[in-house]
Amino acid sequence: MTRSRIARLAAATGLAIGTALLAGPAASASSGTGWIRLAHLSPNTPAVDVYLYSFHHARAKIVLHHVAYGTVSPYEAIPAGEYTVAMRAANAPARSKPVLSTNVDVLAHKAYTVAGLGPFKGLRLGILHDRLGTPKGKALVRVIQASLQQHTISVRAGGHVIARRLHFGRTTRYHAVPAGSLDVRAAGSSENTTLDVPLAAGTVHTLVVLDDPGRLQIDDLTDSAGSQVTVAPATGLGGTAPKPGAPMLPWLVVAAGGLLVTAGGIRVYRIRGRALRTP
């Protein structure tokens, strides 16, 4: 169920971004670029349209249409700066007053999740700061509790407690766990579920606990992934590098030696010649 929502959202994102980012600057990993993803994690809130505006710009940069509960967009690379995220009821006019909005200060090289959290009556937009790096040999895991049916849940990953009686709408901090495939178990008061999550070293995960009507469900989101190498590779043998100039010193020594011998010869010749002429 969540899968199809995500697929739909991905398609919508692709379209929206294709049109919205055409005029925008090229996303660059090395300039002032940050990342943002948008999510709907309020179980009893109907589908919404999510708008991302560059601060003070009337035209939305990204529009996600008909975002239903449980959907999380892929990250979008955006220039660092101030943005506004607004939610409107699905199909509401783009100029209508949003149901909710919040400002996000996107810093370069940082990633954010802006999610609709809590119950419909107390819906709020939460800004989560996402991590990109991990301690060496570890993976990072955090939990977003988005199940209304199980108001508090506890989550364990392998032997590690990630969430202990976490309330609906709340998020844990990231926990470092040893890399490897871990059995993640989420347990509420009357429901529980497990998911095998591959946690490679250098990867950051957010586990979202959702209501999948009547059942508890875990959605594993990859927040970031990288590798943990610290050195630069040696990838050249010098065949196209400038050759060093031929050594000069040996030739200099030969020439100087020759000059000395010649000079010596001339001198000896003169002395001998004078000696011969004057008997």
Partner: protein, 221 residues
Amino acid sequence: MARRGARHALPPSKRIMLGLLLGGLLFFGLGACGLVVAAGKPGKPATPVHAPQAMLPVPKGKRAPVPVPAADDQAAIPVSITIPVIDVRSRLLHLGQTKSGALQTPPVTTVAGWFTGSPRPGDIGSSVIIGHVDSVQGPGIFFRLRLMRPGERVYVRQASGRVAVFRVTGVRQYLKASFPASAVYGGTPTAQLRLITCGGHFDQATGHYLSNVVVYATLIH
């Protein structure tokens, strides 16, 4: 009489002197010639020439969809890389890490390799592909990497037949001594590619280049 005879047959002492004179001149001449030759042959680097556009055809195959943040939609392992603008077409070796923690490099200079400790190309994260700039004889597979420009395309074919298409966002050269490992290898929240080779000055004493060239690219579809 003795002097006239000496004119026809030089006494041994004079012969030695003349020999010294001529020998010395010979050596001086040799040395001077050597110097001229040595000075007149300054080493010149081989300069890569940017291949004409679309020298290689764009690979055929299903293009990868927009990535969705789900663990079970993992990209298949990469099998080959094509970069039409710099005339690169190579299968991809699988590279690991040496005991000292350094990246393995391809054993041949004409083939590129994917670092298996990094995400698969097309998956979320910074995927690392390495190739040699040259061998001891001449250009390697990534000889022209440093000529790439933002906006150019890189195609990675996966074992599934899909082709992940990346757009270059930056080309950088870093001294190995101050290599920004976290920017190059560190985590990213979107599917990205890092193409790495050597560059800059070549240190004849150590047999290594002093810099690395890194091409940053991001998945477009």
